[in-house]
Symmetry: C2
């Protein structure tokens, strides 16, 4: 499958290493379109010389091309919230993962019946939930 | 006009007092449907006994009812990102305000030609931009 992995970039890079491990795990069986989300740099796309319009156009093209969206939502992010709503408008299956210790997730996500949301308490539990989610698509 | 004011709740309340001042300013000439966003508490809706499903249903009803969306986006928020994308899907005029000193705004917002975005460097400039924006609706 072609997966759109969503994680915070300008909202904060505290979880960038976690995103990289999740992307590496997903890549053993799938194609991840948005691999740059796990890059070690703060602004991986800007560093490649892309304008904000380029980044948006590329990400929207990848969102349309994807078979499913996997979002790690422990770091609040305007871009990820936008992507989740746009994924819903496009009818894509969306799986949201959230570290329960980081406080409550937005009610606009937890209250919306469209999303399948998993609160995790360890990376082992997160990976197991991720694998189980992908088997259901 | 009926305005949907969007600001961070669970993403962080660092700007809650600013939201309250902006809502008070807007209320001198308009109706603000989402007045709770400026409340001093951390979780204004949960404190009223609302479930996440109630909060989402109420906010989506207000979004559909609104004539325009005003978003203060200096604190990253999944819910605000979601609301901005849903507002676009509903065809609502959307005005985004962002404190330039707080770092770059998400490329999913700045790169999307749908939004009218204002970076401000003082609250005086923010209020002037807000008034000018509302005159253009």
């Amino acid at each position: 499958m072609k997966l759109y992995f969503a994680g915070s970039i300008r909202g904060g890079r505290a979880d960038a290493a976690l995103y990289a491990r999740l992307i590496a795990h997903l890549k053993t069986r799938h194609r991840v379109l948005t691999e740059h989300v796990g890059a070690p740099s703060a602004f991986p796309t800007v560093e490649k010389g892309m304008t904000d319009r380029d980044i948006w156009a590329q990400d929207m093209a990848w969102l349309r091309e994807s078979d499913a969206v996997i979002a790690e939502c422990s770091t609040p992010s305007l871009g990820v919230g936008y992507e989740l709503a746009m994924a819903q408008t496009l009818g894509k299956p969306v799986f949201i993962f959230h570290n329960a210790a980081r406080g409550p997730l937005s009610a606009m996500l937890t209250g919306d019946p469209y999303y399948r949301i998993f609160a995790y308490d360890s990376e082992e539990a997160l990976l197991a939930a991720l694998d189980a989610a992908l088997e259901r698509i």
